[in-house]
Symmetry: C3
Subunit: 447 residues, 3 copies
């Protein structure tokens, strides 16, 4: 039976730790954060025009009356993080409630942690860091990194392991991004490097540590079911639809509009090519749901860094096509992916890296110099992700985070109370209830 | 069998009543309503600048070029009402089609009724009330109140009982809100008081009248199923995501941005604390879907009235945390909730009431005086909700609204034609069809 | 068994054709398209104000600071196309993955084709057509036409037949719309005529050709299931919610706001009346899911052309009510609909045609003359749709597009690899896996 009898001691400790983490976050938020100027009342002794609140939630150098407003784009990203990632991970047949539920929980705690992490780098003269709509957007984007890592661990960890992993990952993420943006002066419009590459390699490294002891074996609950694959498509399609917002929300003016157009073209082409290559590598020329749920998004990641550039419609389509093809081939022929990591085949970021080299020289740098810095930042990002991921994997084995046994993997009953658990033989619960169903079918199977 | 043989007479009467209600609404709309000035062509003899249409759908005192546009925020609220409430209520294993379908129907008729109710208080010199984008937003917000009440009655009423209840509730709601805003001069940015407290207590009162005769007993269809709980999470997450829009859409400038930030922080904290307390009160330290689907939203309600105020990030997190904890404890230890009422534990509104007392004095009032008026308005709102809810409960027992028997509770087959109803033994329909499945499993259970 | 043994030759050819189509699209895009001026950097020798980038993605004659920004409305339409149409078509019990998946694939390739089609009519002096946010919106709207046609063919075609049909349909659609707008000078704000009527009659004509050989018979997989009907409601409700954006995104100022209000009223009334008439024509006075999933949307189509006009709230409600009633009656008593075509009963477009005749004379035309032109354009549109649809139906029978047998209809296993296909007797896969389940229940049914 999947419902092991767990020592309640370890679980209660995790609950207390969860409460403690939220309390620490509240205290730190009270100590460190306050509203930014655009979320404060205008002082009466300054005129509104002098204060110039128009578009004041954009950084000074990006003010532009022509920009679409930030808030609707922020809400698109918001939907991507919780609906997109949450439902994308519902593909496991008996882990759907945990996929949505743990994305919900982990996202909610990490979005607060992400604000604190960014805040530490932005403490003002008043000793506090400002909180604005832009902070909310940055926090949502940052949360994407640990959720991508989570894709490599889905069903194999306790919720506390995910939360601890996320907190460590966000600290390293913030530091790495700070170094990349300020020391290497490297841009990454769609956060392909700082978020997607970082999150993927971090997750792979953690997963590597987790998998050292056990040899992988077929688990009866590891596959998808007919309905769970449709639930997962809710996540895939919302991610696909709002990716142009993800890649362009922090830009402005013509650069923002180019990022929208380029991302749409790239992700449309990666969708088509993913389907085509998926059927091409299939014995019966049929589509594979793993590819459709994940590789279709590769075009959004691949165009990310270069989204705002003048790569022309042709270039955007070419990048997306290559990304879709490589991603499907990566899933099919490389087994390095222990879980499903949305939109990422091996070294996809290198594609756009290679493409963009000649496109945009940085400040006081030649195109070649800028290219070198971009590659350096990418290498540093991946290196930092792997090293910190390995260390994090070791930390997650601490008793405080708990752990799950092989039997408990991919099973919602580890995380959720099922109300009718004891009413297996009741007609109605046998028909549909989670645990009831398993037991009923177990006996039917043995007849 | 759940499919009782109903006298078709009563059902046909309900259909005729539904048609009649829509016709009356059309006639009243024709008599009472016309486009507001911002939805009319600019007269040719007036210059555009004199007419100043910019942002003209905002009330005069709220014009501000800095505000995010109303329409995208309206669409967020629109999604909350129909997707959010509709899918939140799909948790019952055999009532999912009715949950989404009746939210769809009841919402569509009530949004028209809400426009008329507001219109009655806004008739202009031309004898007609203006209809604008702001009216549409107000109507959506108003519809939330009867949908919250519906949560206490789900599966226990006919659709006509829900519609009649909703019409009466909207009339009382509009009058109560008018008195509160104009006589007590009491603000309620996120409509925690006028919508959420009113809707919850109204629904509890109606439910109390409905439950007087019967003693509650275990109903075989009352629980959730594995898939129905995942469908319900679609509703929960969309409500959670767009709550900042709900609490801030009617505000402007820095107050609006504060409302967005405060609501996000409060609802994030209530999510985390709901999970934590849910596991804390569980014997096996596991999460409970009822709490995750409902209490996670408590922070959005609790911060509501005070959303735009200077409660600082710390205050918003504290309000949300308290709300999440109280909501879970209310579901766990109080049985006063006959159904699931999203995001509301007992007296949650009092939390923010207590918190906000010292924050913002009203016009020509001290903070203490304003606090007294706020408490008075809250007491009046709850009192009006309970009294009018009890009366409405009695009205709903009139024959014209129909009624359902104990056997018909929580059963979609009361409301929906199932096409393959007679093809129970057909392989394919037996496998998945609604009624077919029940019958098949019934016989399997009896073997 | 539904899993026929297909010659892999035909399938591989389709895959190669899919790859080829995407490559051709990339080459044509490279040859024909470039960024529009608003998505290009401002030349340094021109001042920003002279260049006037504000709202520059709107056509010159529509610039208006008062308009809600285009991008959020575009995203609403984007959600309608992929989530709305995709999930609306999940109602079939064993074709849900294909419904969402093929909408995803077909939409992704056709949105690129639609840009090219529009581009051909807009080639500038530099030999290239401009790509802007407005192009993206137009492309999404255009893609709705083939997706509506797809509703008449769902489960009866290969994916390549859908793609080839869509490409032909978009070419004809673009030419027909160009003629209507430029030669007849006929407006169609919500694209009821150019998109909905065209797509519906085109799909019916293709379906007619497909059905010539076979006499329709009961297919065991043709019905819906309990869960598939709830998935389909995700599509219905998102379509219903965002229809005001669909009908108003291309308008501006007071006309846009009227279109939003009118569409909301019309679609709300059509929802209520659809429920009422559905129960009215039902023996047991119960609702029918086919009507609820489709006819509720009729009000959005019916008000389309006239959405921006001064038809008053009363008129919008009347149009929506009539549309809802006619649509339900059409589904109930006419069998001309081989599939489900969202929101369309017979000749719905004529309703608004008749209504709007007296409302708005065109340039240098009397109201009567304009009415005649509108009717002429409608007649031409329907005629073109039928003739081109019939020809397309014949083209789709070419071997290159493949074809599916009667047994393969409505069956996801034609399109998708099911991983556990060979593990039928495994406990876990028997419980939920797609093909596993069918086989298991087959044997149970035979016991």
């Amino acid at each position: 039976m999947a419902k092991g009898i767990l020592g309640t001691c370890g679980e209660k400790q995790q609950v207390m730790l969860l409460l403690l983490i939220q309390i620490i976050v509240i205290v730190l938020m009270g100590t460190l954060m306050t509203y930014g100027p655009e979320a404060r009342p205008v002082p009466r002794n300054r005129s509104i025009s002098a204060y110039s609140p128009t578009n004041s939630w954009l950084p000074d150098d990006k003010k532009d009356d022509d920009s679409p407003p930030l808030y609707p784009m922020y809400q698109d990203v918001h939907v991507m993080i919780w609906i997109g990632f949450g439902f994308l991970m519902t593909f496991l047949r008996r882990y759907g409630q945990s996929a949505v539920g743990l994305t919900f929980l982990v996202g909610a705690i990490l979005v607060q942690v992400a604000m604190l992490c960014e805040g530490v780098f932005n403490i003002g003269k008043n000793g506090k860091a400002p909180l604005s709509l832009k902070s909310l957007l940055s926090a949502d984007v940052a949360v994407a990194a640990p959720l991508i890592s989570m894709g490599a661990l889905l069903g194999k960890t306790t919720y506390m392991q995910l939360i601890v992993m996320g907190i460590i990952e966000l600290i390293v993420y913030t530091a790495n991004k700070y170094i990349g943006e300020n020391h290497f002066v490297v841009v990454d419009a769609g956060d392909s490097m700082y978020v997607h590459a970082f999150g993927a390699y971090f997750g792979l490294a953690v997963s590597f540590v987790f998998g050292m002891k056990e040899k992988p074996k077929e688990h009866s609950l590891e596959g998808s079911s007919y309905e769970s694959d449709i639930f997962a498509m809710i996540g895939t399609v919302f991610l696909w639809l709002f990716w142009p917002s993800f890649n362009s929300a922090a830009l402005k003016g013509d650069e923002q509009r180019r990022a929208i157009i380029n991302t749409l073209l790239s992700i449309a082409a990666s969708c088509v090519i993913s389907f085509a290559v998926s059927a091409f590598v299939s014995k019966q020329s049929k589509f594979n749901m793993v590819h459709v749920q994940n590789s279709t998004l590769a075009g959004g990641v691949a165009i990310g860094t270069a989204a705002g550039m003048m790569c022309e419609p042709f270039g955007a389509l070419a990048i997306g096509s290559a990304a879709g093809a490589i991603s499907v081939l990566g899933y099919k022929y490389l087994t390095i992916f222990p879980g499903r990591i949305p939109g990422l085949g091996p070294n996809l970021t290198e594609i756009n890296e290679n493409y963009r080299l000649s496109l945009k020289p940085g400040p006081n740098r030649s195109a070649g110099q800028q290219a070198a810095y971009q590659l350096l930042a990418l290498a540093v990002t991946i290196g930092v992700a792997i090293v910190s991921g390995l260390i994090t994997g070791l930390i997650l084995r601490m008793p405080i985070c708990g752990s799950i046994t092989e039997d408990q993997k991919f099973d919602d009953s580890v995380n959720w109370e099922f109300e009718d658990e004891n009413a297996v033989h009741d007609i109605s619960s046998a028909s549909k209830d989670g645990n009831g169903r398993t037991a009923e079918q177990l006996s039917m199977g043995h007849i």
